[in-house]
């Protein structure tokens, strides 16, 4: 049996505008762009009394951000924040440094959902930005790998933004129309911002408009966010994209440049304060806020494996439940397991081998919906009879799971008393791709 793991992700719920992950002690840690005008505006920012700006004449620092995102919806002119250092409406200068986001907007009569990245010149408080907007539509309801790199233009070349954005390993073309005061000339924007905003994943720090908190939460899920202290090369972006499977960054070719890696829900992560761990330095952890939650995401592939090689070799019995799908953490419906059958088994149906164990463990998570009925029926096969038949437990009750109207999220146990093989069939209204069903067996 392999050491495959199921990834989790963070689901951000925009009905709570504060949904996000705030990174601890991140104001200076992730400050990459600097105010080169010697204006120590940070002294005027909230929470930074007595702060001294870094030395003037220090150039911007190069950096890159990588993330896996699954955007659920994109209302017009609503930003879906991926990673930001950004505040508005809190008073004072120095509130905005960068914004990595997705927004649906109407540009010259064409409505598109675009990946954008902006560096802010916020000293003047005019909203001046160096901004990149992808020229292709951003897809919904699928996992996409996004990367932004900033090289800091070390040679001070004119007309160079030194911003590159990738989507699924492919470099995007910048598609701007002068909507903002955009300066492609690095020299003309000496005052890139020194933000006092913390780093936030899935939202901005604050966005107060007309006295109302609006913030800009992501509408969907985000997994595996990484920050690097350099401009990634195209080949490195391809390496991290990893043909669509979340890469085990411990195997990245330049781990020295990897400053932070938040797995967002995996390994030691939890909803506790500082529960979203930075697995690089043991500091700068994140705290979930608002309605953001850790969710299983079996459809998100990865080449990460569990540290311990957990190999089931015994046919039976086992105290610990053994997954019936012949691989650890694989769902019978959902994720890479695909869909559950909708027909009764035939004599030729292979089913799944139950290794003659006593207890069947089933996990079922489904959204259901008004007027919908979902049913999962379990069939058993014994070599003694050579027949498939609907399975009843030792109490005479059919082994099946049903829900009407209501969502389910349950771990149901059945006593199957050593049946040889099992077969799972769904009936009623079809389960959707995001529904999950898994089964395991044990002998206790």
């Amino acid at each position: 049996m392999s050491r495959r793991i199921n990834l989790n992700a963070i689901n951000f719920d925009e009905t709570d505008v504060t949904s996000g992950i705030r990174i601890d002690n991140s104001i200076e840690k992730y400050r990459f762009t600097l105010d080169e005008t010697e204006h120590d505006h940070l002294l005027g920012g909230p929470g930074n009394a007595g702060h001294t700006s870094p030395l003037s004449n220090r150039a911007d620092l190069p950096f890159s951000i990588s993330a896996w995102v699954n955007l659920r919806e994109a209302p017009l002119d609503k930003f879906n924040s991926i990673v930001t250092k950004w505040s508005q409406g809190v008073g004072g200068l120095g509130a905005k440094e960068f914004l990595f986001s997705i927004v649906k907007s109407n540009v010259s009569g064409t409505t598109r959902t675009r990946l954008i990245f902006a560096l802010y010149d916020d000293v003047s408080n005019t909203g001046t930005q160096n901004r990149f907007r992808g020229s292709v539509d951003f897809p919904l309801n699928q996992w996409v790998h996004v990367v932004v790199t900033y090289g800091a233009n070390p040679d001070g070349e004119n007309d160079v933004t030194d911003i590159t954005v990738y989507q699924d390993g492919t470099e995007l073309i910048n598609d701007q129309d002068g909507q903002y005061q955009i300066n492609d000339n690095y020299e003309a924007m000496p005052a890139y911002n020194d933000s006092f905003s913390p780093l936030v994943i899935g939202n901005v720090n604050k966005y107060i408009k007309d006295g109302v908190h609006e913030e800009m939460p992501f509408r969907g899920k985000i997994a595996d966010v990484c920050i690097f202290n350099k401009k990634l090369s195209e080949s490195e972006v391809t390496e991290i994209y990893n043909n669509g499977a979340v890469k085990n960054m411990a195997n990245f070719s330049d781990t020295d440049s990897l400053v932070s890696w938040w797995k967002l829900g995996d390994d030691l992560d939890s909803p506790r304060p500082d529960g979203i761990k930075n697995y690089i330095e043991g500091a700068n952890h994140g705290t979930i806020s608002g309605a953001a939650t850790i969710v299983p995401e079996p459809s998100l592939l990865t080449d990460r494996v569990r540290d311990k090689n957990h190999t089931h070799t015994a046919r039976s019995p086992s105290r610990q439940p053994k997954n019936l799908a012949n691989d650890h953490q694989v769902f019978i419906h959902g994720g890479i397991g695909g869909d559950m059958p909708t027909q009764d088994p035939t004599q030729a149906s292979p089913g799944v081998v139950a290794t003659n164990q006593k207890i069947l463990h089933t996990f079922w998570k489904a959204e259901a919906g008004a007027g919908k009925t979902h049913n999962i029926k379990v069939f058993g096969f014994s070599y003694a009879s050579g027949q498939w038949a609907p399975l009843n437990d030792i109490y005479g009750d059919p082994i099946e799971l049903t829900t009407t109207d209501d969502p389910v999220d349950k771990y149901r146990l059945f006593e199957i008393s050593g049946v040889d093989k099992l077969y799972f069939k769904q009936t009623g209204d079809a389960l959707v791709d995001s529904d999950l069903f898994a089964a395991a067996v044990s002998s206790l």
Partner: protein, 142 residues
């Protein structure tokens, strides 16, 4: 000879400590040494939370309501198996929800069959909890 005989006090290091992974007849506290209270939270479980059961068969719960103003409530037990990788509310082999009602001003105890689930998590609304109450969880197999 050191270490032998019924009345002889063995030298340090000559006790054999059994550290079994479950399979105990005596209920074994899953939060720590005997007398350690288990954690109850109001939120649904997610990520690396909960208590390890050592794949034991039975779950023993005891809730001591100290008689405070908090009303009696229901403790819901969630289960997690590494083979599945997700949390779900446990329903036992008889089709019953694995949950226990607390009783105001009294001690309530109940045993459930959890059939070797790897981890459990205990949930109860905050309004039903009180810092003076006590909650214990243990597992056994026989």
């Amino acid at each position: 000879m050191p270490g032998k005989g019924f009345s002889h006090t063995p030298a340090d290091g000559q006790f054999r400590n059994y550290s079994s992974w479950g399979r105990t007849r005596q209920p074994k506290n899953i939060a720590g040494p005997h007398g350690t209270q288990a954690t109850i939270a109001a939120a649904d479980p997610a990520g690396a939370v909960g208590h390890i059961t050592e794949n034991q068969r039975f779950l023993h719960l005891t809730y001591v309501h100290a008689g405070g103003a908090n009303a009696a409530g229901t403790i819901t037990v969630w289960g997690f198996s590494h083979s599945i990788g997700a949390w779900g509310k446990i329903i036992d082999i008889r089709g019953a929800d694995v949950e226990m009602d607390t009783v105001g001003g009294a001690t309530q105890s109940q045993v459930f069959e959890i059939s070797g689930i790897d981890k459990v998590y205990f949930q109860m609304p905050a309004v039903n909890q009180d810092a003076n109450d006590e909650f214990y969880a243990a597992c056994s197999t026989f």
